[in-house]
Each structure stands twice: as structure tokens, then as C-alpha cells.
């Protein structure tokens, strides 16, 4: 994982190497924010790429952006909201639950089925959490970011990250318990 680094200003007209370095530093965090909104990996990647494309255009147009990471995260959030209004989101072909566990190809069918069911359950519980909590969970569990890094990305205090993380984990545990199934973690 590439831990986030303190953002620096992005001056207009810079070289492509500098932009690619920016992409390597922040693309995962941008993806995580987009993923936390809809819990859909492919859409999150499209949104992240679109955010960087817009930043690139701004850069080519000579716009100076003081905090490119904050700019990217804000654009990604807006794009994720706009995605909710798109026709594909409303009239999509298949629910994302069908594709859970597809990447795990080297396991037996029974294990695969169990993984699919468990992931679907995790997804269902995550969908009931506030987006702010999902932001923290995604940054922590998908990218292994430390608390102070999450606080830096989200612009909140580390104590707030602790509180939200603890609350989110507590809610998830309660939901698993409420379901009363044997496959709960």
C-alpha cells in the first residue's frame, strides 16, 4: 500500500511524471472514498479515474490546485453522488451481490458459496451504516491505513476516527448477532 503523504500544491503546466506520482500516492484513497459510497469496486475505479482525468484537465488548463488530494476526494464524492442518478445505477443489469467472491478462484465450490454468503451479509450490514463510517472502514480494512492517516485524509481528529471505528465495529457485531446465523464472524 502507498500511505498518503502530505499533499502539496499542484501547479498548472507541470510534467506528466509529477501527475503520475500524484496518482500513485492518492488513487487508492480516492478509490476507497468512492467505494465506500456504493460498495461497488468497478464503479469506484471508474469514479477515481474520472476524478484524476478532471484534475489532469484542470492542470493542463493552467489551474493551480493547492491541495490536490482534497480536490480529488471532493470530486470523487460528488461523482459518486451523481452516479446515483445515472441510468446505469438505476437500471443496472445485475445486483452486485451476484459477483461477490468471483475473484477467489482457487477455492472449492462449498468454500466459495460460503464466502459469497458471508460477503453478501457483510455488504448488507455495511449498507446500513452511515457513509462516514464506511469511509473509515474502507480506508482501514482495504488499505490498512493508520488512524492518523485516516484522520488526515478525512480532515477529522484521530479521536473521531477512533470513535467512529469503534461504533461501526460495534454495529456490525450487533447486526451479525441479530441475524443469529452460524457463519457470523
Amino acid at each position: 500500500m502507498n500511505p498518503p503523504t502530505p499533499p502539496g500544491p499542484l501547479g498548472g503546466g507541470g510534467n506528466r511524471g509529477e501527475f503520475d506520482a500524484l496518482y500513485q500516492r492518492h488513487s487508492r484513497a480516492v478509490w476507497a472514498i468512492a467505494f465506500a459510497r456504493w460498495l461497488d469496486a468497478d464503479s469506484a475505479m471508474d469514479i477515481a479515474q474520472e476524478a484524476f482525468l478532471r484534475l489532469w484537465r484542470e492542470w493542463e488548463a493552467g489551474q493551480e490546485i493547492q491541495n490536490p488530494r482534497a480536490w480529488l476526494l471532493r470530486v470523487a464524492r460528488n461523482l459518486a453522488e451523481d452516479y446515483a442518478k445515472s441510468a446505469f445505477r438505476r437500471n443496472g443489469t445485475s445486483p452486485p451481490e451476484q459477483f461477490q467472491g468471483v475473484r477467489s478462484l482457487e477455492i472449492s465450490p462449498s468454500e466459495k458459496l460460503e464466502l459469497v454468503e458471508r460477503n453478501a451479509k457483510v455488504r448488507a450490514i455495511l449498507e446500513g451504516l452511515p457513509t462516514a463510517d464506511r469511509d473509515i472502514l474502507t480506508l482501514k480494512y482495504a488499505l490498512d491505513y493508520e488512524t492518523h492517516e485516516i484522520a488526515d485524509i478525512l480532515g477529522i481528529q484521530a479521536t473521531a476516527v477512533h470513535m467512529r471505528l469503534s461504533r461501526a465495529r460495534q454495529r456490525m457485531a450487533e447486526r451479525f448477532t441479530e441475524n443469529g446465523d452460524e457463519s457470523k464472524p
Binding site: 460498495l39 489532469w56 475473484r103 469503534s166 465495529r169 460495534q170 457485531a173 450487533e174 451479525f176
Partner: protein, 126 residues
């Protein structure tokens, strides 16, 4: 590293479950930036001019045009031959004229000569 506070009611392997779920969503290989990728691709590929068109493409185009022209000629000639009635002797129609007015004119006197009612007197009906 500061660990988040945990509750005794939280299952021990919740962290593992969440980690498995979220890491399973991450792309296996992180893609390159699409914003700059087309620029690099365009820079690496030399620009093509009209002279760079492969000869196979031109040959295929010429063959296609020839095939279309040949097919059109074949279909048109076939349509001309098929327009002739089957079994008809073409020599019987040689010198014939399709003049309808002339045919009616020639048939007029013959009908009058063969009229069976020609010599029967007309009588008034009581």
C-alpha cells in the same frame, strides 16, 4: 500505532472478516492512470500516413470491388435470360410487332364475315 478500542461483544474475527471483504474488493492489479495513458500511447505510436496502409488491405479492397462488380454482372445477365419463356421458340416471334391497334384492325372484318346472325331478319316482339 494506536489501536482502536474494542468491545468484548465484538467477535474476535470481525477484523479478519472485514479485512477479507474489503481486500477482496481491491483490484488485483492497480490500473494505470487513464488520464495520462492515452497521451503516452499516442506519443509512442508513430503517426500513420496514407502510404502506410498495408498492401493486404488494398488487395482485399480491390478483390471486394471486383467481386461486387462480377456478382452484379452475373445477376443482371441471369435476369435477362430468365425473362424468356421456357420452351418458347425464339424464331416464332422473329419479325413480330407488338402493335395492338394493328391487331384489332386486322381482326375486325373477319368477325363480321363469320357473324351467324348476319342473315336472320329481325322481327318485332309481340
Amino acid at each position: 500505532m494506536i489501536q482502536p478500542p474494542t468491545s468484548p461483544t465484538v467477535p474476535d474475527d470481525l477484523d479478519r472478516t472485514l479485512s477479507d471483504f474489503f481486500k477482496g474488493q481491491l483490484p488485483s492489479t492497480w490500473p494505470a492512470c487513464r488520464a495520462t495513458a492515452p497521451v503516452e500511447a499516442a506519443a509512442n505510436v508513430p503517426a500513420k500516413s496514407a502510404g502506410d496502409v498495408p498492401w493486404t488491405s488494398r488487395t482485399a479492397l480491390a478483390a471486394s470491388v471486383a467481386l461486387v462488380l462480377g456478382l452484379g454482372f452475373f445477376v443482371s445477365s441471369g435476369a435477362t435470360n430468365s425473362g424468356r419463356p421456357t420452351g418458347a421458340n425464339g424464331s416464332l416471334l422473329s419479325g413480330a410487332t407488338a402493335n395492338g391497334a394493328g391487331l384489332l384492325k386486322a381482326a375486325g372484318p373477319a368477325e363480321k364475315a363469320d357473324d351467324p346472325m348476319k342473315n336472320i331478319p329481325t322481327m318485332p316482339i309481340p
